[in-house]
Symmetry: C2
């Protein structure tokens, strides 16, 4: 698939077909992930690929439970009766045949300890780039993904770490299912949204949640040419 | 260009042709950037696109000065006479006709203040995904990029913020040039590297710097199937 088409056409997939993903396909998306740009060549990533049903199903269940309790209720402030509507969207989520757990595993050691905060920021950006590459590659191969991060609200995803034997010093940064989408629906167009709508994304204004989660700020809202808000140039050489 | 080819074939470009990049090309790479996955739909990005030579040249000079003083010398521990070799690689860097400054501008407000650290982590991953998308799209269009982050070591890149009128509450996360590569060199193959080599990336072991910056851990080093280091399964339901 054409690169720009894959990058702009990817959408999060919630409903999966149970059909397994061939090992070669999994390896292709991981090769794209580790080819991501990595400032200072940190390569701070590690991936755990889970395909055994005795592990994928409890893992999926865990992600949904955390999504309900920690994200929908505690984080976004939805009432329990409101979360049902959103959980309904995940009806075929547990059928996903594969999950990829993206971890932060520092590899390089640097000279100055005071740079540790900077290194962590860069490492998180590397992990985002790797996850984005993985998702674009998956979409190009006809596979769906969806970024989960809410498990960090459950003590850094301690159940996942325990199940998968992930060492204490390694952080889990993101989890995504990997599988063929259950529905061959066409790509939904992005709903344009305003800055005010996005800012209203809080406890007191929940009816628009679904819309908020699908919407997209127009490019003009986030791109500035030459200077922030087009101000005049003031370069002091 | 094919998506997987673009994702895996991208390399950082240091030497640029001064030929300008058409506005439509800049917009295409930005469209790919904002199509990046964004957990909880945070869309925490903003981009400043700089094309005016009176600004691109001091910006390039600033990046190189910081790279020398703050990254090569302070961060990596190179001696000043050693940095010349690396700075020589940037000979045609200042010719780059465009720079894109990737910023962290939070847009959503959430219910719980104690989630702010989580939001910043997620936002950094979003910015990494957007920067990765931008770089893959650029490569697919024949354009070069290179991730710069070292300016944060100079008080968060305060010169950039001042020149570009970036508000105090907005962080600069990354900067990349965007332009046609000066050399039509074929893609360098990745040099395989070991975990030990990468870990040696510190003050006391500099001769291997160039190699370390180009090398790549093999996929087997960073991918675990079913369980970290292939341990046995222990799922407690």
């Amino acid at each position: 698939m054409d690169c720009l088409e894959a990058l702009t056409g990817r959408r999060g997939v919630l409903r999966y077909d149970p059909r397994p993903v061939a090992r070669a396909e999994i390896e292709a998306v991981l090769a794209a992930a580790i080819a991501a740009p990595s400032p200072a060549n940190l390569q701070p990533w590690a991936f755990v690929v889970v395909t055994q049903p005795e592990l994928t199903r409890p893992l999926a269940r865990y992600l949904l439970d955390v999504q309900d309790e920690k994200v929908f209720q505690a984080f976004l402030g939805l009432r329990p009766e409101e979360t049902e509507r959103y959980l309904g969207l995940y009806e075929q989520f547990e059928a996903a045949p594969c999950f990829i757990v993206v971890c932060l595993e520092p590899k390089a050691q640097f000279a100055l300890v005071e740079h540790e905060a900077v290194l962590r920021d860069w490492s998180l950006m590397c992990l985002g780039a790797a996850t984005g590459n993985l998702m674009a590659a998956a979409h190009a191969r006809g596979l769906g993904t969806r970024w989960f991060g809410g498990f960090v609200l459950d003590d850094g995803g301690r159940m996942l770490k325990e199940w998968l034997g992930i060492p204490v010093e390694v952080e889990i940064a993101a989890v995504t299912p990997l599988g063929y989408p259950a529905d061959a629906t066409p790509i939904r167009p992005r709903v344009p949204q305003t800055r005010e709508e996005l800012a209203a994304f809080r406890r007191s204004d929940q009816p628009a949640l679904a819309r908020l989660l699908k919407g997209k700020l127009p490019v003009e809202e986030v791109v500035h040419f030459e200077r922030w808000n087009g101000g005049s140039l003031h370069v002091h050489l």
